[in-house]
Protein backbone atom coordinates (compact mmCIF):
# COMPACT_ATOMS: atom_id res chain seq x y z
CA UNK A 1 0.00 0.00 0.00
CA UNK A 2 1.20 3.39 -0.90
CA UNK A 3 -0.34 5.68 1.66
CA UNK A 4 2.05 7.08 4.15
CA UNK A 5 0.81 7.20 7.71
CA UNK A 6 -1.37 10.19 7.94
CA UNK A 7 -0.45 13.28 9.81
CA UNK A 8 -2.53 14.28 12.77
CA UNK A 9 -5.93 14.44 11.10
CA UNK A 10 -7.57 16.99 13.37
CA UNK A 11 -8.68 20.27 11.96
CA UNK A 12 -8.07 23.35 14.11
CA UNK A 13 -9.77 22.62 17.40
CA UNK A 14 -10.48 19.04 16.27
CA UNK A 15 -13.63 20.10 14.46
CA UNK A 16 -15.01 17.30 12.31
CA UNK A 17 -15.59 17.96 8.64
CA UNK A 18 -18.94 16.20 8.72
CA UNK A 19 -20.95 15.54 11.83
CA UNK A 20 -24.02 13.37 11.40
CA UNK A 21 -26.41 13.05 14.33
CA UNK A 22 -29.46 10.85 14.64
CA UNK A 23 -30.07 10.75 10.93
CA UNK A 24 -33.23 8.86 10.07
CA UNK A 25 -34.94 8.39 6.73
CA UNK A 26 -38.47 7.04 6.34
CA UNK A 27 -40.20 6.33 3.06
CA UNK A 28 -43.97 6.63 3.11
CA UNK A 29 -45.45 4.11 0.73
CA UNK A 30 -48.93 3.71 -0.62
CA UNK A 31 -51.35 2.11 1.80
CA UNK A 32 -49.72 3.84 4.77
CA UNK A 33 -46.76 1.51 4.79
CA UNK A 34 -43.52 2.96 6.09
CA UNK A 35 -39.99 1.86 5.20
CA UNK A 36 -37.36 2.59 7.86
CA UNK A 37 -34.37 2.88 5.53
CA UNK A 38 -32.02 4.67 7.95
CA UNK A 39 -32.50 4.93 11.72
CA UNK A 40 -30.58 7.03 14.24
CA UNK A 41 -27.27 7.06 12.42
CA UNK A 42 -24.56 9.21 14.01
CA UNK A 43 -20.91 9.54 13.04
CA UNK A 44 -18.16 12.10 12.56
CA UNK A 45 -15.69 12.38 9.74
CA UNK A 46 -12.46 14.34 10.19
CA UNK A 47 -10.53 16.08 7.42
CA UNK A 48 -8.04 13.67 5.91
CA UNK A 49 -9.93 10.70 7.25
CA UNK A 50 -11.49 7.79 5.37
CA UNK A 51 -14.60 6.22 6.84
CA UNK A 52 -15.98 3.11 5.17
CA UNK A 53 -19.67 2.38 5.50
CA UNK A 54 -20.14 -1.33 4.90
CA UNK A 55 -23.14 -3.65 4.93
CA UNK A 56 -25.31 -5.93 2.84
CA UNK A 57 -27.30 -4.61 -0.09
CA UNK A 58 -30.52 -3.08 1.14
CA UNK A 59 -29.12 -2.08 4.56
CA UNK A 60 -29.72 1.61 3.86
CA UNK A 61 -26.20 2.76 3.13
CA UNK A 62 -26.91 4.27 -0.27
CA UNK A 63 -30.03 5.98 1.05
CA UNK A 64 -27.81 7.61 3.63
CA UNK A 65 -25.56 8.98 0.87
CA UNK A 66 -28.54 10.30 -1.06
CA UNK A 67 -29.86 11.96 2.10
CA UNK A 68 -26.58 13.83 2.58
CA UNK A 69 -26.82 15.21 -0.96
CA UNK A 70 -30.54 15.96 -0.85
CA UNK A 71 -31.21 13.47 -3.62
CA UNK A 72 -34.02 11.49 -2.04
CA UNK A 73 -37.40 11.11 -3.71
CA UNK A 74 -40.39 13.06 -2.49
CA UNK A 75 -41.88 10.38 -0.31
CA UNK A 76 -38.77 10.37 1.90
CA UNK A 77 -38.91 12.00 5.31
CA UNK A 78 -35.58 12.89 6.84
CA UNK A 79 -34.80 13.83 10.44
CA UNK A 80 -31.61 14.54 12.33
CA UNK A 81 -28.63 16.73 11.50
CA UNK A 82 -25.67 16.48 9.15
CA UNK A 83 -23.39 19.41 9.84
CA UNK A 84 -20.82 20.10 7.14
CA UNK A 85 -18.18 22.48 8.41
CA UNK A 86 -16.73 25.20 6.22
CA UNK A 87 -13.64 27.37 6.31
CA UNK A 88 -15.23 29.74 8.82
CA UNK A 89 -17.51 29.02 11.77
CA UNK A 90 -20.38 30.67 9.91
CA UNK A 91 -19.98 28.46 6.87
CA UNK A 92 -21.23 25.40 8.68
CA UNK A 93 -24.28 24.01 6.96
CA UNK A 94 -26.85 21.42 7.95
CA UNK A 95 -27.16 19.34 4.80
CA UNK A 96 -30.50 17.93 5.89
CA UNK A 97 -32.06 21.36 6.47
CA UNK A 98 -30.61 23.13 3.41
CA UNK A 99 -33.01 23.94 0.59
CA UNK A 100 -32.60 22.68 -2.95
CA UNK A 101 -31.21 25.99 -4.25
CA UNK A 102 -28.44 26.00 -1.64
CA UNK A 103 -27.61 22.37 -2.30
CA UNK A 104 -27.56 22.85 -6.06
CA UNK A 105 -25.54 26.08 -6.07
CA UNK A 106 -23.13 25.68 -3.20
CA UNK A 107 -22.96 22.07 -2.05
CA UNK A 108 -23.08 19.44 -4.79
CA UNK A 109 -19.76 19.32 -6.58
CA UNK A 110 -18.43 22.29 -4.59
CA UNK A 111 -18.48 21.16 -0.97
CA UNK A 112 -19.39 17.52 -1.50
CA UNK A 113 -18.06 15.57 -4.48
CA UNK A 114 -19.96 12.43 -5.43
CA UNK A 115 -18.21 9.45 -6.97
CA UNK A 116 -21.19 7.50 -8.26
CA UNK A 117 -22.05 3.82 -8.16
CA UNK A 118 -22.18 3.09 -11.87
CA UNK A 119 -20.09 5.64 -13.76
CA UNK A 120 -21.32 4.44 -17.12
CA UNK A 121 -24.85 5.46 -16.15
CA UNK A 122 -23.68 8.67 -14.46
CA UNK A 123 -21.98 10.05 -17.57
CA UNK A 124 -24.00 11.56 -20.40
CA UNK A 125 -23.94 8.95 -23.18
CA UNK A 126 -24.12 11.38 -26.10
CA UNK A 127 -21.21 13.62 -25.14
CA UNK A 128 -17.49 13.00 -25.00
CA UNK A 129 -15.65 12.93 -21.70
CA UNK A 130 -13.84 16.15 -22.65
CA UNK A 131 -17.08 18.00 -23.26
CA UNK A 132 -18.58 16.91 -19.94
CA UNK A 133 -15.44 17.63 -18.01
CA UNK A 134 -15.04 21.07 -19.61
CA UNK A 135 -18.60 21.97 -18.72
CA UNK A 136 -18.04 20.96 -15.11
CA UNK A 137 -14.77 22.91 -14.92
CA UNK A 138 -16.47 25.99 -16.36
CA UNK A 139 -19.43 25.79 -14.00
CA UNK A 140 -17.49 25.04 -10.84
CA UNK A 141 -14.34 27.11 -11.30
CA UNK A 142 -15.53 29.88 -13.63
CA UNK A 143 -12.59 29.41 -16.03
CA UNK A 144 -12.93 31.43 -19.19
CA UNK A 145 -12.72 30.00 -22.66
CA UNK A 146 -9.02 30.68 -23.11
CA UNK A 147 -7.86 28.64 -20.14
CA UNK A 148 -10.65 26.07 -20.17
CA UNK A 149 -8.89 23.55 -22.40
CA UNK A 150 -5.84 23.44 -20.19
CA UNK A 151 -7.89 23.27 -16.98
CA UNK A 152 -9.89 20.38 -18.43
CA UNK A 153 -6.71 18.51 -19.21
CA UNK A 154 -5.47 19.12 -15.68
CA UNK A 155 -8.77 17.91 -14.23
CA UNK A 156 -8.50 14.67 -16.20
CA UNK A 157 -4.94 14.26 -14.99
CA UNK A 158 -5.93 14.49 -11.34
CA UNK A 159 -8.00 11.34 -11.67
CA UNK A 160 -5.35 9.70 -13.88
CA UNK A 161 -7.72 9.75 -16.85
CA UNK A 162 -5.55 9.43 -19.98
CA UNK A 163 -5.61 12.58 -22.12
CA UNK A 164 -5.78 10.60 -25.38
CA UNK A 165 -9.13 9.12 -24.31
CA UNK A 166 -10.81 12.48 -23.65
CA UNK A 167 -12.59 12.53 -26.99
CA UNK A 168 -14.25 9.19 -26.42
CA UNK A 169 -17.87 8.65 -25.55
CA UNK A 170 -18.78 6.80 -22.33
CA UNK A 171 -19.65 3.56 -24.13
CA UNK A 172 -16.15 3.47 -25.61
CA UNK A 173 -14.54 3.38 -22.19
CA UNK A 174 -13.68 0.33 -20.14
CA UNK A 175 -15.17 0.06 -16.66
CA UNK A 176 -11.98 1.35 -15.08
CA UNK A 177 -11.68 4.38 -17.34
CA UNK A 178 -15.37 5.25 -16.93
CA UNK A 179 -14.75 5.16 -13.19
CA UNK A 180 -11.85 7.58 -13.56
CA UNK A 181 -13.91 9.92 -15.72
CA UNK A 182 -16.58 10.02 -13.01
CA UNK A 183 -13.93 10.54 -10.35
CA UNK A 184 -12.41 13.39 -12.37
CA UNK A 185 -15.83 15.09 -12.44
CA UNK A 186 -16.18 14.64 -8.68
CA UNK A 187 -12.77 16.20 -8.02
CA UNK A 188 -13.16 19.32 -10.15
CA UNK A 189 -14.76 21.45 -7.46
CA UNK A 190 -12.06 20.71 -4.85
CA UNK A 191 -14.80 19.67 -2.48
CA UNK A 192 -13.52 19.01 1.05
CA UNK A 193 -15.83 15.99 1.36
CA UNK A 194 -15.77 13.12 -1.12
CA UNK A 195 -18.67 10.73 -1.05
CA UNK A 196 -18.06 7.50 -2.96
CA UNK A 197 -21.13 5.28 -3.31
CA UNK A 198 -20.06 1.73 -4.27
CA UNK A 199 -17.34 3.09 -6.56
CA UNK A 200 -15.96 -0.36 -7.39
CA UNK A 201 -19.03 -2.40 -8.30
CA UNK A 202 -18.33 -4.57 -11.31
CA UNK A 203 -14.59 -3.84 -11.46
CA UNK A 204 -12.06 -6.64 -11.23
CA UNK A 205 -9.75 -6.89 -8.26
CA UNK A 206 -6.81 -4.96 -9.76
CA UNK A 207 -9.09 -2.11 -10.79
CA UNK A 208 -10.81 -2.13 -7.40
CA UNK A 209 -7.48 -1.69 -5.71
CA UNK A 210 -6.34 1.03 -8.08
CA UNK A 211 -9.63 2.91 -7.79
CA UNK A 212 -9.75 2.90 -4.00
CA UNK A 213 -6.05 3.77 -3.74
CA UNK A 214 -6.65 6.78 -5.96
CA UNK A 215 -9.61 7.85 -3.85
CA UNK A 216 -7.57 7.39 -0.72
CA UNK A 217 -4.77 9.51 -2.17
CA UNK A 218 -7.06 12.54 -2.17
CA UNK A 219 -7.33 12.43 1.62
CA UNK A 220 -3.63 13.35 1.74
CA UNK A 221 -4.70 16.89 0.88
CA UNK A 222 -7.08 16.98 3.83
CA UNK A 223 -10.12 15.75 1.99
CA UNK A 224 -12.57 13.66 4.00
CA UNK A 225 -13.63 10.45 2.27
CA UNK A 226 -16.85 8.60 3.03
CA UNK A 227 -16.84 5.39 1.03
CA UNK A 228 -19.92 3.22 0.87
CA UNK A 229 -19.20 -0.33 -0.16
CA UNK A 230 -20.09 -3.97 0.29
CA UNK A 231 -16.51 -4.91 -0.57
CA UNK A 232 -14.79 -5.61 2.73
CA UNK A 233 -11.40 -6.08 1.13
CA UNK A 234 -11.62 -2.60 -0.42
CA UNK A 235 -12.63 -1.14 2.94
CA UNK A 236 -9.76 -2.86 4.69
CA UNK A 237 -7.35 -1.48 2.13
CA UNK A 238 -8.10 2.20 2.58
CA UNK A 239 -10.31 2.92 5.60
CA UNK A 240 -9.21 4.49 8.88
CA UNK A 241 -12.49 3.61 10.48
CA UNK A 242 -15.34 1.28 9.60
CA UNK A 243 -19.05 1.70 10.22
CA UNK A 244 -21.08 -1.49 9.78
CA UNK A 245 -24.72 -0.92 8.94
CA UNK A 246 -27.46 -3.44 9.49
CA UNK A 247 -31.14 -2.86 8.79
CA UNK A 248 -30.66 0.90 8.64
CA UNK A 249 -28.67 1.25 11.87
CA UNK A 250 -24.99 1.45 12.65
CA UNK A 251 -24.16 -1.82 14.38
CA UNK A 252 -20.51 -1.07 14.94
CA UNK A 253 -18.22 1.91 14.41
CA UNK A 254 -14.58 1.28 15.06
CA UNK A 255 -10.98 1.69 13.93
CA UNK A 256 -10.28 -0.32 10.78
CA UNK A 257 -7.14 -1.86 12.27
CA UNK A 258 -9.10 -3.20 15.25
CA UNK A 259 -11.92 -4.38 13.01
CA UNK A 260 -9.93 -6.29 10.41
CA UNK A 261 -7.07 -7.23 12.69
CA UNK A 262 -7.11 -7.82 16.38
CA UNK A 263 -9.36 -7.85 18.41
CA UNK A 264 -11.76 -8.02 15.45
CA UNK A 265 -15.40 -6.98 15.21
CA UNK A 266 -17.41 -6.96 18.42
CA UNK A 267 -20.92 -6.91 17.00
CA UNK A 268 -22.05 -10.48 16.20
CA UNK A 269 -23.34 -9.33 12.80
CA UNK A 270 -20.08 -7.59 11.90
CA UNK A 271 -18.18 -10.67 13.03
CA UNK A 272 -20.43 -12.90 10.92
CA UNK A 273 -19.96 -10.68 7.88
CA UNK A 274 -16.19 -10.79 8.19
CA UNK A 275 -16.19 -14.55 8.83
CA UNK A 276 -18.17 -15.05 5.62
CA UNK A 277 -15.14 -13.97 3.56
CA UNK A 278 -13.56 -16.77 1.54
CA UNK A 279 -10.18 -16.07 3.16
CA UNK A 280 -11.78 -16.60 6.57
CA UNK A 281 -14.43 -19.15 7.59
CA UNK A 282 -16.46 -18.74 4.34
CA UNK A 283 -19.59 -19.42 6.42
CA UNK A 284 -22.76 -17.43 5.76
CA UNK A 285 -24.76 -15.76 8.50
CA UNK A 286 -27.92 -17.88 8.83
CA UNK A 287 -31.10 -16.32 7.48
CA UNK A 288 -31.55 -13.09 5.58
CA UNK A 289 -31.71 -9.43 6.60
CA UNK A 290 -35.16 -8.26 7.70
CA UNK A 291 -37.42 -6.19 5.50
CA UNK A 292 -36.94 -2.48 6.20
CA UNK A 293 -40.71 -2.12 6.03
CA UNK A 294 -41.25 -4.80 8.61
CA UNK A 295 -38.46 -4.61 11.17
CA UNK A 296 -38.68 -6.77 14.27
CA UNK A 297 -39.10 -5.09 17.64
CA UNK A 298 -35.81 -4.48 19.39
CA UNK A 299 -32.49 -5.48 17.87
CA UNK A 300 -33.04 -6.20 14.17
CA UNK A 301 -30.27 -8.79 14.13
CA UNK A 302 -31.58 -10.82 17.09
CA UNK A 303 -33.58 -13.33 14.94
CA UNK A 304 -30.31 -14.36 13.23
CA UNK A 305 -28.07 -14.06 16.25
CA UNK A 306 -26.72 -16.94 18.33
CA UNK A 307 -26.10 -14.63 21.29
CA UNK A 308 -29.64 -13.20 21.44
CA UNK A 309 -31.48 -13.13 24.76
CA UNK A 310 -34.50 -11.42 26.30
CA UNK A 311 -32.49 -8.20 26.54
CA UNK A 312 -32.50 -7.99 22.73
CA UNK A 313 -36.19 -7.05 22.74
CA UNK A 314 -35.03 -3.45 23.14
CA UNK A 315 -32.96 -1.66 20.52
CA UNK A 316 -29.36 -1.47 21.76
CA UNK A 317 -27.75 1.98 21.73
CA UNK A 318 -24.39 2.57 20.10
CA UNK A 319 -22.07 2.73 23.10
CA UNK A 320 -18.30 2.49 22.89
CA UNK A 321 -18.56 1.85 19.16
CA UNK A 322 -20.89 -1.13 19.25
CA UNK A 323 -24.68 -1.39 19.33
CA UNK A 324 -25.25 -4.76 20.96
CA UNK A 325 -26.46 -6.11 24.29
CA UNK A 326 -24.00 -9.01 24.08
CA UNK A 327 -20.93 -7.82 22.19
CA UNK A 328 -18.13 -10.27 21.53
CA UNK A 329 -15.36 -9.73 24.07
CA UNK A 330 -11.66 -10.42 23.94
CA UNK A 331 -12.27 -13.54 26.07
CA UNK A 332 -14.74 -14.93 23.51
CA UNK A 333 -12.28 -14.26 20.72
CA UNK A 334 -9.51 -16.07 22.54
CA UNK A 335 -11.75 -19.05 23.22
CA UNK A 336 -12.90 -19.23 19.61
CA UNK A 337 -9.53 -19.01 18.01
CA UNK A 338 -7.21 -20.21 20.73
CA UNK A 339 -5.23 -17.00 20.50
CA UNK A 340 -3.13 -15.83 23.35
CA UNK A 341 -5.35 -13.35 25.05
CA UNK A 342 -2.46 -11.56 26.70
CA UNK A 343 -1.32 -10.11 23.40
CA UNK A 344 -4.74 -8.80 22.44
CA UNK A 345 -5.16 -5.10 23.02
CA UNK A 346 -7.72 -4.00 25.51
CA UNK A 347 -11.10 -4.07 23.85
CA UNK A 348 -13.14 -2.34 26.46
CA UNK A 349 -12.38 0.85 24.64
CA UNK A 350 -13.82 3.79 26.44
CA UNK A 351 -15.24 6.33 24.06
CA UNK A 352 -12.57 8.75 22.94
CA UNK A 353 -12.43 12.32 24.07
CA UNK A 354 -14.34 13.31 20.98
CA UNK A 355 -17.42 11.47 22.21
CA UNK A 356 -19.11 8.21 21.32
CA UNK A 357 -18.72 8.77 17.58
CA UNK A 358 -15.06 9.69 18.12
CA UNK A 359 -13.37 11.06 15.06
CA UNK A 360 -9.74 11.81 15.11
CA UNK A 361 -10.47 15.12 16.75
CA UNK A 362 -7.47 16.31 18.65
CA UNK A 363 -6.67 12.80 19.73
CA UNK A 364 -4.95 10.79 17.05
CA UNK A 365 -5.85 7.39 18.44
CA UNK A 366 -8.75 6.83 16.10
CA UNK A 367 -7.96 8.84 13.05
CA UNK A 368 -4.39 7.86 12.49
CA UNK A 369 -3.67 5.10 10.07
CA UNK A 370 -1.78 2.26 11.59
CA UNK A 371 1.46 1.31 9.90
CA UNK A 372 0.99 -1.68 7.65
CA UNK A 373 2.87 -4.12 9.83
CA UNK A 374 0.51 -3.77 12.75
CA UNK A 375 -2.46 -4.97 10.75
CA UNK A 376 -1.23 -8.36 9.65
Amino acid sequence: MSQAPQKDGGSPGGRPLLSVRELSVRFRMSGGREIAAVSDVSFDLAPGECLALVGESGCGKSVLASALLGLLPRNAYVSGRALLSGPGARDALDLLAADEATLARTVRGRRVGLVPQSPAAHLTPVRTVRSQLAETVRELTGRKRGELAEATLAAAGRAAFPADHLDRYPHQLSGGLAQRAATALALVGDAPLLLADEPTTGLDRDLVERTVDELRAHTEDGCGLLIITHDLAAAERIADRVAVMYAGRVAELTAAADFFGSPGPRHPYARGLLDALPERAFAPIPGMPPELGDLPEGCAFAPRCARASDACATVPALTGGVACHHPVTATDTAQESGHDIATAPDTDGTPGAAGPYGTAGGDDADGTRQPEGSRA
Binding site: E56, R205, H230, E236, A276, R280, F282
Partner: protein, 243 residues
Protein backbone atom coordinates in the same frame (compact mmCIF):
# COMPACT_ATOMS: atom_id res chain seq x y z
CA UNK B 1 -14.46 -49.32 -13.62
CA UNK B 2 -13.39 -50.48 -17.01
CA UNK B 3 -13.68 -47.23 -18.89
CA UNK B 4 -12.96 -43.76 -17.55
CA UNK B 5 -16.08 -41.58 -17.37
CA UNK B 6 -16.06 -38.86 -20.01
CA UNK B 7 -15.61 -35.33 -18.63
CA UNK B 8 -18.81 -33.46 -17.79
CA UNK B 9 -17.76 -30.58 -20.00
CA UNK B 10 -15.04 -30.38 -22.59
CA UNK B 11 -14.24 -27.33 -24.70
CA UNK B 12 -11.84 -28.09 -27.55
CA UNK B 13 -9.94 -25.43 -29.47
CA UNK B 14 -12.67 -22.84 -29.09
CA UNK B 15 -12.40 -19.71 -31.20
CA UNK B 16 -15.26 -17.35 -30.41
CA UNK B 17 -16.24 -13.72 -30.24
CA UNK B 18 -18.53 -11.18 -31.79
CA UNK B 19 -16.54 -10.30 -34.89
CA UNK B 20 -14.99 -12.99 -37.07
CA UNK B 21 -12.08 -10.74 -37.92
CA UNK B 22 -11.22 -10.20 -34.25
CA UNK B 23 -12.35 -13.09 -32.09
CA UNK B 24 -12.13 -12.70 -28.33
CA UNK B 25 -10.85 -16.26 -27.89
CA UNK B 26 -8.58 -18.26 -30.17
CA UNK B 27 -8.17 -21.99 -29.81
CA UNK B 28 -8.90 -22.21 -26.10
CA UNK B 29 -9.44 -25.64 -24.53
CA UNK B 30 -10.83 -26.41 -21.11
CA UNK B 31 -12.02 -29.60 -19.45
CA UNK B 32 -14.23 -29.98 -16.40
CA UNK B 33 -14.27 -33.54 -15.09
CA UNK B 34 -17.33 -35.37 -13.84
CA UNK B 35 -18.28 -33.82 -10.49
CA UNK B 36 -15.32 -31.47 -10.65
CA UNK B 37 -15.39 -27.76 -9.74
CA UNK B 38 -13.19 -25.57 -11.92
CA UNK B 39 -12.67 -21.84 -11.36
CA UNK B 40 -11.91 -19.74 -14.43
CA UNK B 41 -9.96 -16.61 -13.52
CA UNK B 42 -9.00 -13.64 -15.64
CA UNK B 43 -9.10 -9.86 -15.90
CA UNK B 44 -12.03 -7.90 -17.35
CA UNK B 45 -12.28 -8.31 -21.09
CA UNK B 46 -10.16 -11.48 -21.40
CA UNK B 47 -13.09 -13.45 -22.81
CA UNK B 48 -13.92 -15.63 -19.82
CA UNK B 49 -17.61 -14.75 -19.94
CA UNK B 50 -17.67 -15.54 -23.65
CA UNK B 51 -16.15 -18.94 -22.90
CA UNK B 52 -18.79 -19.48 -20.20
CA UNK B 53 -21.54 -18.69 -22.71
CA UNK B 54 -20.07 -21.16 -25.17
CA UNK B 55 -19.95 -23.79 -22.43
CA UNK B 56 -23.61 -23.14 -21.64
CA UNK B 57 -24.46 -23.50 -25.36
CA UNK B 58 -25.62 -19.88 -25.36
CA UNK B 59 -23.06 -18.64 -27.86
CA UNK B 60 -21.99 -20.39 -31.06
CA UNK B 61 -18.22 -20.41 -31.45
CA UNK B 62 -16.55 -19.67 -34.81
CA UNK B 63 -14.52 -22.86 -34.45
CA UNK B 64 -14.03 -25.66 -31.98
CA UNK B 65 -16.32 -28.17 -30.30
CA UNK B 66 -18.15 -28.51 -27.02
CA UNK B 67 -18.71 -31.95 -25.47
CA UNK B 68 -21.18 -32.55 -22.68
CA UNK B 69 -20.70 -35.85 -20.89
CA UNK B 70 -18.73 -37.09 -23.88
CA UNK B 71 -21.38 -36.20 -26.48
CA UNK B 72 -20.64 -33.38 -28.90
CA UNK B 73 -23.00 -30.40 -28.71
CA UNK B 74 -25.29 -30.58 -31.72
CA UNK B 75 -26.27 -26.92 -31.74
CA UNK B 76 -26.21 -23.65 -29.87
CA UNK B 77 -28.82 -21.28 -28.50
CA UNK B 78 -32.30 -22.25 -29.75
CA UNK B 79 -30.79 -24.88 -32.04
CA UNK B 80 -29.39 -26.83 -29.11
CA UNK B 81 -31.36 -30.02 -28.51
CA UNK B 82 -33.39 -29.75 -25.33
CA UNK B 83 -31.63 -32.62 -23.56
CA UNK B 84 -28.28 -30.89 -23.97
CA UNK B 85 -29.54 -27.37 -23.33
CA UNK B 86 -31.13 -28.36 -20.05
CA UNK B 87 -28.08 -30.35 -18.94
CA UNK B 88 -26.35 -27.03 -18.24
CA UNK B 89 -27.63 -24.54 -15.65
CA UNK B 90 -26.44 -20.94 -15.80
CA UNK B 91 -26.32 -18.13 -13.26
CA UNK B 92 -25.26 -14.71 -14.49
CA UNK B 93 -23.63 -11.75 -12.74
CA UNK B 94 -26.51 -9.33 -12.78
CA UNK B 95 -29.75 -10.88 -11.58
CA UNK B 96 -31.75 -7.80 -12.66
CA UNK B 97 -30.75 -8.30 -16.27
CA UNK B 98 -31.40 -12.03 -16.06
CA UNK B 99 -34.90 -11.91 -14.62
CA UNK B 100 -38.12 -11.04 -16.40
CA UNK B 101 -39.43 -8.06 -14.39
CA UNK B 102 -43.03 -9.18 -14.93
CA UNK B 103 -42.69 -12.53 -13.21
CA UNK B 104 -43.03 -13.19 -9.51
CA UNK B 105 -40.07 -14.99 -7.97
CA UNK B 106 -42.16 -18.16 -7.82
CA UNK B 107 -42.89 -18.01 -11.57
CA UNK B 108 -39.27 -17.12 -12.24
CA UNK B 109 -38.07 -20.25 -10.46
CA UNK B 110 -40.72 -22.41 -12.15
CA UNK B 111 -40.05 -21.03 -15.65
CA UNK B 112 -37.73 -23.85 -16.80
CA UNK B 113 -40.25 -26.44 -15.60
CA UNK B 114 -43.04 -24.76 -17.55
CA UNK B 115 -40.89 -24.33 -20.63
CA UNK B 116 -40.18 -28.04 -20.69
CA UNK B 117 -43.78 -29.07 -20.16
CA UNK B 118 -43.54 -30.05 -16.53
CA UNK B 119 -46.15 -27.65 -15.28
CA UNK B 120 -47.75 -30.38 -13.16
CA UNK B 121 -44.77 -30.80 -10.89
CA UNK B 122 -43.97 -27.07 -10.85
CA UNK B 123 -45.81 -26.15 -7.66
CA UNK B 124 -44.20 -28.67 -5.36
CA UNK B 125 -40.79 -28.41 -6.95
CA UNK B 126 -40.80 -24.59 -6.81
CA UNK B 127 -41.30 -24.65 -3.08
CA UNK B 128 -38.54 -27.18 -2.63
CA UNK B 129 -36.16 -25.14 -4.80
CA UNK B 130 -37.05 -21.89 -3.03
CA UNK B 131 -36.43 -23.48 0.33
CA UNK B 132 -33.05 -24.79 -0.78
CA UNK B 133 -31.89 -21.24 -1.60
CA UNK B 134 -33.40 -19.76 1.57
CA UNK B 135 -36.39 -18.01 0.01
CA UNK B 136 -39.81 -18.34 1.60
CA UNK B 137 -42.96 -16.66 2.74
CA UNK B 138 -44.28 -13.69 0.83
CA UNK B 139 -40.99 -13.18 -1.02
CA UNK B 140 -42.07 -15.72 -3.62
CA UNK B 141 -45.12 -13.64 -4.52
CA UNK B 142 -43.03 -10.54 -5.19
CA UNK B 143 -41.59 -9.28 -8.43
CA UNK B 144 -37.92 -8.49 -8.99
CA UNK B 145 -38.20 -4.76 -8.21
CA UNK B 146 -39.57 -5.60 -4.77
CA UNK B 147 -36.58 -7.66 -3.63
CA UNK B 148 -32.86 -7.02 -3.07
CA UNK B 149 -30.09 -8.09 -5.45
CA UNK B 150 -29.18 -10.89 -3.09
CA UNK B 151 -32.73 -12.22 -2.91
CA UNK B 152 -33.13 -12.04 -6.69
CA UNK B 153 -29.85 -13.85 -7.23
CA UNK B 154 -31.07 -16.60 -4.90
CA UNK B 155 -34.13 -16.98 -7.13
CA UNK B 156 -31.93 -17.07 -10.25
CA UNK B 157 -29.83 -19.83 -8.69
CA UNK B 158 -32.98 -21.79 -7.82
CA UNK B 159 -34.08 -21.39 -11.45
CA UNK B 160 -30.73 -22.70 -12.67
CA UNK B 161 -31.14 -25.79 -10.49
CA UNK B 162 -34.76 -26.44 -11.48
CA UNK B 163 -33.97 -28.99 -14.21
CA UNK B 164 -31.23 -30.70 -12.17
CA UNK B 165 -28.35 -29.79 -14.51
CA UNK B 166 -25.27 -32.01 -14.80
CA UNK B 167 -23.09 -28.94 -15.23
CA UNK B 168 -23.55 -25.59 -13.53
CA UNK B 169 -21.98 -22.47 -15.05
CA UNK B 170 -21.76 -19.52 -12.63
CA UNK B 171 -20.53 -16.39 -14.39
CA UNK B 172 -19.54 -13.87 -11.69
CA UNK B 173 -22.52 -15.10 -9.70
CA UNK B 174 -21.53 -13.23 -6.55
CA UNK B 175 -19.73 -10.14 -7.90
CA UNK B 176 -22.57 -7.82 -6.84
CA UNK B 177 -23.18 -9.46 -3.48
CA UNK B 178 -21.93 -8.99 0.06
CA UNK B 179 -19.74 -11.54 1.81
CA UNK B 180 -22.49 -13.33 3.70
CA UNK B 181 -24.80 -13.73 0.70
CA UNK B 182 -21.81 -14.90 -1.35
CA UNK B 183 -20.99 -17.60 1.18
CA UNK B 184 -24.66 -18.60 1.36
CA UNK B 185 -25.03 -19.00 -2.42
CA UNK B 186 -21.79 -20.93 -2.72
CA UNK B 187 -23.06 -23.25 0.03
CA UNK B 188 -26.28 -23.82 -1.95
CA UNK B 189 -24.29 -24.72 -5.07
CA UNK B 190 -22.02 -27.05 -3.15
CA UNK B 191 -24.97 -28.71 -1.43
CA UNK B 192 -26.58 -29.35 -4.81
CA UNK B 193 -23.35 -30.71 -6.25
CA UNK B 194 -22.89 -33.02 -3.32
CA UNK B 195 -26.37 -34.47 -3.78
CA UNK B 196 -26.30 -34.64 -7.57
CA UNK B 197 -22.64 -35.06 -8.48
CA UNK B 198 -22.91 -32.15 -10.92
CA UNK B 199 -19.81 -30.40 -12.24
CA UNK B 200 -19.16 -26.67 -11.88
CA UNK B 201 -17.52 -24.01 -14.00
CA UNK B 202 -17.27 -20.86 -11.87
CA UNK B 203 -16.10 -17.77 -13.73
CA UNK B 204 -14.81 -14.74 -11.89
CA UNK B 205 -11.98 -12.39 -11.04
CA UNK B 206 -11.95 -12.99 -7.30
CA UNK B 207 -9.01 -15.32 -6.88
CA UNK B 208 -9.49 -15.78 -3.14
CA UNK B 209 -13.09 -16.84 -3.67
CA UNK B 210 -12.50 -19.24 -6.55
CA UNK B 211 -9.46 -20.85 -4.94
CA UNK B 212 -11.51 -21.53 -1.84
CA UNK B 213 -14.56 -22.71 -3.73
CA UNK B 214 -13.18 -24.85 -6.56
CA UNK B 215 -11.06 -28.01 -6.87
CA UNK B 216 -8.74 -26.17 -9.23
CA UNK B 217 -8.51 -22.81 -10.92
CA UNK B 218 -7.57 -22.00 -14.47
CA UNK B 219 -6.02 -18.72 -15.46
CA UNK B 220 -6.96 -16.90 -18.64
CA UNK B 221 -4.80 -14.07 -19.90
CA UNK B 222 -6.10 -11.14 -21.91
CA UNK B 223 -6.44 -12.16 -25.57
CA UNK B 224 -5.90 -15.89 -25.07
CA UNK B 225 -4.08 -17.25 -28.13
CA UNK B 226 -4.12 -20.57 -29.94
CA UNK B 227 -2.08 -23.21 -28.22
CA UNK B 228 -1.73 -21.32 -24.97
CA UNK B 229 -2.60 -23.93 -22.44
CA UNK B 230 -4.59 -22.28 -19.71
CA UNK B 231 -2.55 -22.32 -16.56
CA UNK B 232 -4.08 -24.60 -14.01
CA UNK B 233 -3.54 -24.74 -10.29
CA UNK B 234 -4.78 -27.28 -7.76
CA UNK B 235 -6.51 -26.05 -4.70
CA UNK B 236 -4.05 -25.06 -2.01
CA UNK B 237 -4.86 -25.28 1.68
CA UNK B 238 -6.98 -22.27 2.61
CA UNK B 239 -4.85 -19.23 3.17
CA UNK B 240 -6.05 -17.69 6.37
CA UNK B 241 -4.01 -14.51 6.30
CA UNK B 242 -6.35 -11.61 5.67
CA UNK B 243 -5.88 -9.20 2.81
Amino acid sequence: MTRPTPPALELREITAGYDRAAPVLRGVSLTVGEGEAVGLLGPSGCGKSTLAKVAALLHRPFAGTVHLGGAPARGFRHRAPRAQRTAVGVVFQQPRLAADPRLTLASLIAEPLRATGRRAEAAGRTEELARSVGLGGDLLARRPHEVSDGQLQRACLARALALRPRVLVCDEMTAMLDASTTAALVAVVEDYRERSGAALLAVGHDRTLLERWCDRTVEMAAGAEAGTALRSARRAPADTSAG
